[in-house]
């Protein structure tokens, strides 16, 4: 088989895979792809600078020239919302999947070994869950100060606990299965048993959960920025844009409404993917 054949083969496999998806998974993936591409091509598909303040066109209602209107500093909201994809999607992605990596590893190891390692982890998880998530993040931000680096740090300190809880619970079930015994009796090292044998089997619920977590993290980031604790003006972050439009909401509804819609559309596409993945991966 030459390389062209392999390529062709991979393409038919991909097409077959996509055909087997449920409608929610297809629609969700399509919306997310459009949003991601729009974010990547942001400077090409917007005509004005998201930071450019045009005092000649302040608080303009949506029109052909500015399809989403302009804000109180005369900045084009369409351009700001599209550039906002870069911030919101990237930061939310990082604070979802970085904690997932070590959260799952810690949970899987504790679940596999049990004993005192597990007991310590459980007490830690109980404590983390006793704090309302947002409150804990706000407290950490209060110590470190606002800003995107500190959001990364705060969430990475806290969010892994959810993944550890999930991975631990799955590992407790997986540990007792025959293939694990087989792997153990073959004399494989523990790291290989945990990460190469058990891990692929506990990832499905983790991936499904991560989609819901992704949505919550978009809400978290925009919420913190709305409260003035996250990404600061003049960056085109959706929550910060809503906060800035708050004082003008009565006469200029579009300043608040449009960035909020961007959050809803992005979040819904991720939820649709999560719903489709539940069926595709056979999770619960």
């Amino acid at each position: 088989m030459n390389s062209a054949d392999i390529l062709l083969n991979q393409r038919t496999l991909l097409i077959r895979e996509v055909r087997s998806w449920s409608n929610t998974l297809k629609i969700g993936t399509a919306i997310l792809l459009v949003i991601t591409i729009a974010g990547i091509l942001a400077p090409l598909i917007t005509s004005s600078d998201p930071y450019y303040q045009d005092y000649g066109s302040i608080l303009l209602a949506p029109s052909w020239e500015h399809i989403f209107g302009t804000d109180h500093l005369g900045r084009d909201i369409y351009s700001r919302v599209i550039h906002g994809i870069r911030i919101d999607l990237t930061v939310a992605f990082v604070i979802t999947y970085v904690p997932m990596i070590y959260g799952v590893a810690i949970g899987a190891i504790a679940g596999y070994y049990g004993g005192w390692v597990d007991s310590i982890l459980m007490r830690l998880l109980d404590t983390a869950i006793a704090f309302p998530f947002l409150v804990l993040i706000i407290v950490i931000i209060a110590i470190l100060g606002p800003g995107v680096q500190n959001i990364y740090l705060a969430v990475c300190l806290v969010a892994w606990t959810m993944y550890a809880r999930l991975a631990r619970a799955e590992m407790l079930i997986e540990r007792e299965k025959d293939y694990m015994l087989a792997a153990k009796s073959m004399g494989f090292p523990v790291s290989r048993i945990i990460f190469r044998h058990a891990l692929p089997n506990i990832m499905s619920p983790v991936i499904v959960f991560s989609m819901a977590d992704f949505v919550l993290n978009i809400l978290l980031l925009s919420g913190l920025s709305f409260l003035g604790l996250g990404i600061q003006a003049p960056e085109p972050e959706w929550g910060a844009m809503i906060a800035a439009g708050r004082d003008y909401i009565f006469d200029s509804w579009w300043i608040c409404t449009i960035p909020g819609l961007a959050i809803v559309v992005t979040g819904t596409s991720l939820s649709l993917i999560g719903d489709g993945l539940t069926q595709r991966l056979g999770g619960r």
Partner: protein, 314 residues
């Protein structure tokens, strides 16, 4: 006797967690980079004031001594003093805790009276268009930021139609209900999809259980099965779902109180972060965690009253 024993074990399990909660909240203030007193008082304070504050907070003592005095004072109901607001932290929190509790109870009530019929409907029309519409609407609902929903509701029902007040708490129970309707509704919009999701699952589980099979084979009508067996048994998971989500409810309350200017714990937290009022932040962290633990304990006790087998399983 069993009940007392159960409660005692349950309380015993809370002790190490409470200790860790106190430790984390204490570290919050201890780990502030630089001198927290200087950060709080800024450039306004004279040296004598700063020295007095150091003395008052015992910052000249070693960290372990400070931690144990924090614990022992905390056990006596003293969470320290706010220098900026010139009041004990417990007084500041005490003034606001009823507003937040009212908001939480009201939101949970609104969420329940919408979520229970909706999940019932979804189960009756399982895998039919109604079920799918409820599920999809739920996904959109979960993606809506509560501060944004709050602002839009405020704009529509507060400013344009003038139906509800847009800020404050009001006087007396009926006014509270009126003033807090929009904020509670905002929080419940996030809670409803979560409740429907888990209630729908648990009702579907009950539908596949043996005793429903028996009821069916006895020839009971499906309406009777749904009302008498499925609905009643799904009320128990509702308690659990609500108590598990109490953390999200409180998180929602923080943001919504800020949006609607309700004088509760959430707006106190946001304001204290702005002032860098560390003793208040520290006290609020403890109180928020205790609220979550208390609700979970109450839910467990309620669960026990409804289903006595819980005790045996322990």
């Amino acid at each position: 006797m069993e009940i007392i024993q159960y409660i005692a074990t349950r309380l015993g399990q809370m002790v190490p967690v409470l200790f860790l909660v106190a430790l984390i909240s204490f570290l919050c203030m201890a780990l502030v980079p630089g001198d927290p007193i200087m950060l709080m008082l800024g450039g306004r304070a004279t040296e004598t004031v700063i020295a007095a504050a150091h003395e008052e907070f015992g910052l000249d003592k070693p960290i372990l001594v400070r931690f144990f005095s924090f614990i022992s004072q905390g056990l006596q109901g003293d969470l320290g003093r706010s220098i900026i607001q010139r009041q004990p932290v417990t007084v500041l929190i005490g003034e606001r805790i009823s507003q937040t509790s009212f908001l939480l109870g009201y939101s949970a009530f609104l969420a329940l009276i919408v979520a229970i019929p909706l999940s019932f409907l979804a189960v009756i029309r399982h895998n039919r268009p109604t079920d799918h519409i409820i599920r999809l609407t739920g996904m959109v609902g979960l993606s809506m930021p509560s501060f944004w929903v709050g602002l839009l509701l405020m704009l529509l029902f507060g400013l344009k139609f003038n139906l509800f007040p847009i800020r404050g708490f009001g006087d007396g129970f009926l006014e509270h209900l009126w003033y807090l309707f929009l904020p509670s509704f905002t929080i419940s919009l996030f809670l409803i999809p979560m409740l429907v999701q888990s209630l729908r699952e648990s009702m579907l589980d009950v539908l596949q259980s043996d005793y429903v099979e028996v009821a069916r084979s006895k020839g009971l009508s499906s309406r009777r099965i749904l009302l008498k067996h499925v609905f009643r048994n799904s009320l128990i998971p509702t308690i659990t779902v609500l108590s598990v989500n109490i953390g999200w409810l409180l998180s929602g309350a923080v943001v919504v109180e800020f949006v609607f200017s309700i004088p509760g714990l959430g707006s106190l937290l946001v304001r204290s972060v702005g002032f860098r009022d560390y003793p208040v932040i520290q006290g609020l962290a403890v109180v928020f965690a205790m609220m979550v633990m208390l609700v979970n304990l109450l839910a467990d006790l309620l669960y026990m009253v409804v289903d006595r087998r819980v005790i045996k399983k322990q």
